[in-house]
Symmetry: C2
Subunit: 413 residues, 2 copies
């Protein structure tokens, strides 16, 4: 089916199905059962994807991302149950007031409508994203990576079977039929039916969606994150937060990329950093850091400051103080997560207020920017834009509101 037709069916299915919370919950619980029941089919489809991708030369690391092992299948089922059990975000009266003319106005949470999601390799996202979007009362069109095509098909088919068991229209949860780049573009431009589009993936995917979409987009997941260590910092705390941010899991968006250090702290602190990380992580450093650590390390360039490595590489820059740190972060950062280590609460507040990012930390690791860590019970991604949702997006980010207004004949004078 072509993209516009799929979107139209999805939107109409959504308009016709105002689902109560109990039904949405039951559909997700049923999907969890079906995933367990149909594990062998999922495994077969997933092996087809991997065999094909391996033949096309996919790296072993990427093949691992693609793999739906038995434990990952169990995790998907468990994830569905967890999303099913979350409190219903719909029908909440956010505000209510009465005008002098007697009109009663209620602002009530409602679904967004038809949500499109474009993502890359991992087929688990089909379940994670699909279940959250559906739990919030939306219809969804999923556009996964072509490598995971067969896996995504079976997973969507399972969710559709769950819908049918409750007499619901399978078009509420669809996989985009058209796997081409043109299909993806058509989805991005289908603002007649698609209410919101969420890209989940690498920098290039996000950039392409932002450039090409006419559907409203929520940008997610670009994380050029910084840690600034102030002159008043506790060195042991600072080092632990730096190591956690850079070394624990460098591939994720809330990992650190650049370390900024106060010039008065640099002389004693940078040698500790070099000793703790030097062997496992490439350090690219500014001229002042070079004067302390020696010329063995490569010099950081403008491009380094602007790069999200997602790897064992750290850029280091010595700064004159909190103001230069703020300046640097606002210039190169992506608005994701930024941290300061200091014992000076005045400087801390200055940093937290002036740094323009979704999550700003005092004396803690940036690695906490995550829906599960925040206690949201699921996450669709981490928004790095300021419209609608910022930071980790849980169910609350997947709803809109409407004004319901009750009168007894009021007209405007």
């Amino acid at each position: 089916m072509n993209v516009t037709e799929q979107a139209r069916l999805g939107k109409e299915a959504w308009q016709h199905a105002i689902l109560d919370g109990a039904t949405r919950k039951a559909v997700l619980e049923t999907a969890a059962e079906l995933i367990t029941e149909r594990e062998a089919e999922i495994d077969r489809a997933n092996r087809e994807d991997i065999t094909r991708s391996a033949a096309e030369g996919m790296s072993l690391a990427m093949q691992d991302r693609l793999r739906l092992s038995s434990s990952r299948i169990a995790d998907m089922a468990e994830g569905l149950r967890e999303v099913a059990a979350l409190p219903d975000p719909l029908g909440q009266i956010q505000k209510a007031w009465t005008l002098p003319n007697g009109l009663e106005i209620k602002r009530v949470s409602v679904p967004l409508g038809l949500v499109g999601i474009i993502y890359e390799s991992r087929p688990n996202v089909t379940i994670e994203a699909g279940s959250l979007i559906f739990k919030a009362g939306n219809a969804v069109i999923l556009r996964g990576g072509s490598a995971a095509r067969r896996s995504n098909e079976i997973l969507v088919e399972i969710m559709q079977e769950a819908l049918r068991r409750y007499g619901l229209d399978a078009a509420l949860i669809q996989l985009l039929d058209d796997p081409t780049r043109e299909g993806s573009l058509a989805l991005m431009r289908c603002h007649e039916y698609v209410d919101v589009l969420i890209p989940r993936g690498g920098k290039q995917l996000i950039a392409q969606v932002v450039e090409d979409a006419s559907v409203p987009v929520i940008r997610t997941g670009e994380g050029n994150c910084h840690l600034y260590v102030d002159e008043t910092a506790d060195p042991q705390m600072a080092l632990a937060i730096l190591l956690n941010g850079k070394m624990q899991r460098p591939s994720v968006c809330n990992a650190l990329e650049t370390f900024l250090v106060h010039k008065k702290e640099a002389g004693s602190f940078l040698p500790m950093v070099a000793e703790a990380m030097g062997g496992k992580c490439e350090l690219r450093i500014c001229a002042e850091a070079s004067a302390i650590l020696g010329s063995a390390y490569p010099r950081a360039t403008e491009e380094d400051y602007a790069t999200e490595y997602n790897d064992y590489i750290l850029t280091i820059k010595v700064v004159a103080g909190v103001d230069e740190a703020i300046e640097h972060i606002n210039r190169y950062g992506t608005g994701h997560s930024e941290a300061i280590v200091t014992e000076d609460l005045g400087r801390a507040e200055r940093f937290l207020n002036a740094v323009d990012a979704a999550a700003v930390y005092l004396n803690a690791s940036t690695r906490f920017t995550d829906g599960a860590q925040f206690g949201f019970g699921g996450e669709l991604g981490i928004s790095t834009q300021k419209l609608h949702a910022r930071g980790p997006m849980g169910l609350e980010a997947l709803v809109s509101y409407k004004y319901k207004i009750y009168g007894d004949g009021q007209i405007r004078a």
Copy 2:
């Protein structure tokens, strides 16, 4: 100056100026005084615009929209004072919680950043929109209609003078220098610096911005609004709401365009409508209405159902009941304002829930969808999309939030 350079200056000015509420209030109050003091200059600039536009063949009605009469200048000053006096929307702790590991998370309201606004003829919008956006702590780039060029220049200059009196960077409030279509397009695509873009104007302007922008957009002001009169409606109430919605001010976005009536009510009700409106308003009617009212009225087409006339034209359609009314509205509506008149509360709730629009009314006129009517004390437009803000956008729609997270050395396990 070119557009990107202006946007960069605006964003940097915003990043460097974290303004407290008292300063923002004082700037707006000072701008109000300056507008009164400099009335003669505003008048002179505005007359230049009108003389030039008249020579280029502008209609008298459009010339009137362009005119900044003495009373409109006084209204702008008064509007600035009202916006200045609104409660500060920034720094509000929307949520706060503590994680088991001791991290304290606060979700705090912050400005959006640099907001672009593209609008058409009326120069008053320069003050109305500029003041609201600034009150919410944002920087703004205004792109008004070219006919109002000189008027907009003097109004922005006045706001910049107010900024300078408080030692603030004039780049916080700028008029786009480049008046060409390319300049406007460059603003729409400048997502490196512009956080949000709000088009205010006609259907074509909105459509162009939605198609071309890569900056996140808030769509506003498209209003193909409907009234559905159910079989259980009070006919006098229904007629009053219909007349108010269609006839009081047909040029505005919350005015009615299509009237839907239950088939059991149509026989008695449509002749009342024809009698009350027939002389002053063109009626375009469906086949069933034609069977009641006779063949003198033109037949409504698909295009009529999809058109926002903003004029003394009303489309009439007889429907089988509330479900057909909902279906019709969700198909042709623009998600703005929709009303039902009924005494049946079950049907009323069905309508209010199933109709996908920003404001849904029971037994009241759609004309109330307006920031001032809602008590928001100012309005930047009426959002017809579901991301971020829906319905009348007051100050609250012009802010984002950030997470401020306070730790004492927490790292992720």
